[in-house]
């Protein structure tokens, strides 16, 4: 895995429907400055900048990294953009981490963002390919058939998706950065919301958000120095991996993708995880549609195949359960698409740093258990994950 790497600073904007008060650059910078402040650093301390966002059709800005160099203090430094659709926030983090793990840099700033209000994500995701007809509308139109297949395969009761939708929105009430705040949410409200892409209801989908997230990743030496200076402990990377697979491959399991299983297995091997449900204190997992919680519970090995929904049903993934998933409220509560993956990674880091505030999971802090950050993108084709902990690996 190379040299040790740790998170020493995390910064987030508050996620909103529309940030009309700032430019794209101003929004990205807000997150970057917050991460630097958390790390007790300035732009001058940063060796390299890695940025990520979702496809260019979202804001219509080609090569945004060129435009953002000034705002991110990248002039005279290496700067690059990572692009893996919805998982990009995760893979951007891991590209930055690899620069530290390889011994190239002491401190790397990673930033991910989306300003969805500048266009319309459903439109941007529904631009049909040149030679075919438009048969899918939005991400929900793409994922709904796979959710239906999961329900058929697992025999899960119909209310599991609604339970996740309620749980994550209740978690969001404890997160000052979360976009959706629905204090009176309950199963009835979710059930009564419009069926958009049967079996996906309106309240079982993620919102469209403007926002950015940034992290400062550091070498062992730089992490120890920052921790001593700020009094805020680093989150150490115990395992990190990415995997991808083709969308249209015969025999590909789109409900339980092999790339996701392989990616998790790689991370767990590096981190010494053999029982994820016991060894992780919490997980921040990319769940843009509520049914993806039970699906990923199985794909990531927290439950046997076909039984992920039983953990959700039993309350195991709730904030007070034995393995809280998405204590921040998750993608279901905040979704600046390009940033959503990095927010998962950052929230996992905040949990083991003891910096998660009101949505802090107590068991994450003492160092005996790890936290998982997860992102996926494309047609469940790209996966990026990391395991972080309070103790050095």
């Amino acid at each position: 895995m190379g040299n040790r790497c740790a998170v020493i600073g995390v910064g987030q904007t508050k996620y909103r429907t529309k940030r009309a008060d700032v430019s794209l650059a101003g929004m990205v910078r807000e997150a970057a400055l917050a991460a630097l402040e958390d790390a007790g650093l300035t732009f001058a301390d940063i060796d390299s900048v890695v940025v990520g966002k979702a496809p260019d059709m979202f804001e219509g800005v080609a090569t945004p990294e060129l435009y953002l160099a000034d705002a991110l203090g990248a002039v005279g430094k290496p700067m690059m953009r990572v692009h893996t659709a919805g998982s990009v926030g995760g893979s951007t983090t891991l590209v930055g981490a690899s620069q530290v793990q390889a011994g190239l840099h002491e401190r790397v700033l990673v930033v991910a963002f989306e300003k969805q209000s500048e266009s319309n994500a459903t439109w941007a995701l529904s631009t049909h390919s040149p030679f075919s007809a438009s048969l899918v509308v939005g991400a929900g139109g793409y994922f709904a058939p796979y959710i239906r297949a999961y329900i058929r395969r697992s025999g899960a009761p119909a209310n599991i998706g609604m339970m996740v939708a309620v749980k994550d929105r209740i978690n969001a009430l404890r997160n000052p950065y979360a976009h959706l705040k629905i204090p009176n949410i309950d199963l009835a409200m979710v059930e009564e919301s419009m069926m958009l892409w049967d079996p996906i209801r309106y309240l079982e989908t993620c919102p469209s958000s403007d926002g950015a997230v940034a992290m400062v990743l550091a070498s062992e030496r730089a992490a120890e120095a920052a921790g001593a200076a700020t009094g805020r402990p680093p989150a150490w990377v115990h395992g990190a991996a990415m995997r991808s697979e083709p969308m249209g491959m015969s025999g590909r399991d789109s409900v339980d993708p092999r790339a996701g299983r392989d990616c998790a297995a790689d991370v767990y091997r590096q981190a010494g995880v053999t029982e994820p449900r016991r060894q992780f204190a919490t997980a921040e997992v990319y769940v843009p549609f509520s049914w993806y919680e039970p699906m990923w519970l199985e794909n990531l090995g927290f439950a046997e195949k076909g039984s992920g929904w039983k953990l959700t049903e039993a309350g195991a993934t709730a904030f007070d359960g034995d393995i809280p998933w998405n204590p921040s409220g998750g993608v279901l509560s905040s979704n600046p698409i390009g940033a959503s993956g990095m927010i998962r990674f950052a929230e996992a880091a905040q949990q083991v740093r003891g910096q998660a505030g009101e949505h802090q999971v107590a068991a994450a802090v003492d160092g005996s258990r790890l936290a998982l950050g997860h992102a996926y993108g494309g047609g469940s084709q790209f996966f990026a994950m990391w395991a972080v902990g309070a103790r050095k690996p």
Binding site: D21, L24, M57, G60, S117, A133, V137, G138, P145, S250
Partner: protein, 350 residues
């Protein structure tokens, strides 16, 4: 029926000419990407202030910590990343006349160019600025252009807070007269500062489908669905793939497939979108008999409440006379009425 790749391009031409004498397999498809209404841009305070200045017929720059003046302004110091323009005294009115620092000549203006006659694109450094902005110079002739020449802006009356509020620059010192704003601001109400602009984008591509896709479309033109088979794993792909996504080897064998199959899974779509069918519509995956991958398709001729995973379906085609060289010849799939197929029999294709 199968055909080896060596003869497939010939077969493609044959079936294309059968479909329509005026169309060839090399036909290019126009593909347009355009967000309706255009992308918006929230400007932020710095760019917004510059654009607000343009609307009032004035050019403003922002002073960097080292004293130099940037025009157009940037939000952050390109050298130190410090925020710029946060204090009123950091703002400097420049020009309006300036000096051409370099230029290029446009003999044949395009429809979206600022002038409909030959002109120069020039970098122009307004007096009092340390950087140059890009704009058009209406010099009349290439011979009249020179690096170091003096120019001044020609302001439009219809100013909205955009760089096009300057129609172009013209040779000489001016005067650069600023016509009264049209339409006139409403009474004594102050105009709001510019904070948002709309930028229409249109990307128009002319694309070739390639050999494999053309042969598939030529089949669709005569009501025949064609797939390719991987020589290594033996899997049949439809729509056809030029190479097997699993093995990475060319998929060289053509396979004619029936238009019957099983619906492996589906969504009932209630979200309307331009270009998509009227809601509610059902999009689903159909595993054609003899294929090894399910194909995305519409399902119709059945109430949406009655659509089931495992339902046997058959393709519904447009009448022969209405066929074009398009996937749209296959309108949708409809139930055959045969018994459902057990999920376990096709689960691996979901």
């Amino acid at each position: 029926m199968t055909t080896q790749a060596s003869s497939s391009s010939q077969a493609a031409q044959t079936s294309a000419s059968r479909a329509s004498a005026s169309q060839t397999s090399d036909e290019r498809v126009v593909h347009v990407l355009e967000f309706p209404g255009g992308y918006t841009r929230s400007t932020g305070p710095v760019i917004g202030r510059f654009l607000t200045g343009l609307r009032s017929g004035r050019l403003f720059g922002v002073r960097m910590p080292d004293g130099r003046v940037l025009v157009p302004p940037t939000e952050y110091d390109p050298q130190t990343a410090a925020a710029l323009g946060t204090a009123d005294e950091d703002w400097v009115e420049v020009g309006p006349a300036g000096t051409v620092t370099t230029w290029t000549w446009v003999d044949d203006p395009r429809p979206d160019h600022p002038l409909d006659r030959p002109f120069a694109w020039a970098l122009i450094r307004p007096d009092g600025a340390d950087t140059a902005l890009l704009h058009a110079v209406d010099s009349g002739s290439k011979a009249a252009m020179a690096t170091g020449m003096r120019v001044h802006p020609t302001w439009r009356a219809e100013r909205t807070g955009a760089v096009k509020d300057i129609a172009c620059f013209a040779p000489g010192e001016g005067p650069a007269e600023v016509p009264a704003l049209v339409p006139a601001p409403d009474g004594e109400a102050e105009l709001e500062p510019v904070s948002m602009v709309t930028l229409p984008h249109r990307l128009e591509y002319r694309l070739r489908g390639g050999t494999v896709w053309n042969h598939f479309i030529d089949g669709m033109a005569v009501g025949q669905i064609r797939g390719t088979r991987c020589a290594k794993c033996g899997k049949v792909f439809v729509p056809p793939r030029g190479a097997c996504p699993g093995d990475g080897v060319p998929a060289t064998e053509w396979v004619d497939l029936p238009d019957t199959g099983v619906l492996t899974t589906f969504a009932v779509n209630n979200v309307p979108a331009a270009g998509a069918p009227e809601v509610p519509f059902i999009s689903g995956y159909v595993l054609l008999d003899g294929a090894d991958i399910a194909m995305l398709a519409l399902v119709s001729d059945v109430p949406w409440q009655e659509v089931r995973i495992g339902m046997r379906v058959r393709g519904v085609w447009v009448p022969d006379a209405e066929r074009t060289r398009s996937v749209k010849n296959l309108k949708w799939f409809a139930p055959t009425g045969e018994p459902d197929v057990p999920f376990e029999q096709f689960e691996e294709y979901v």
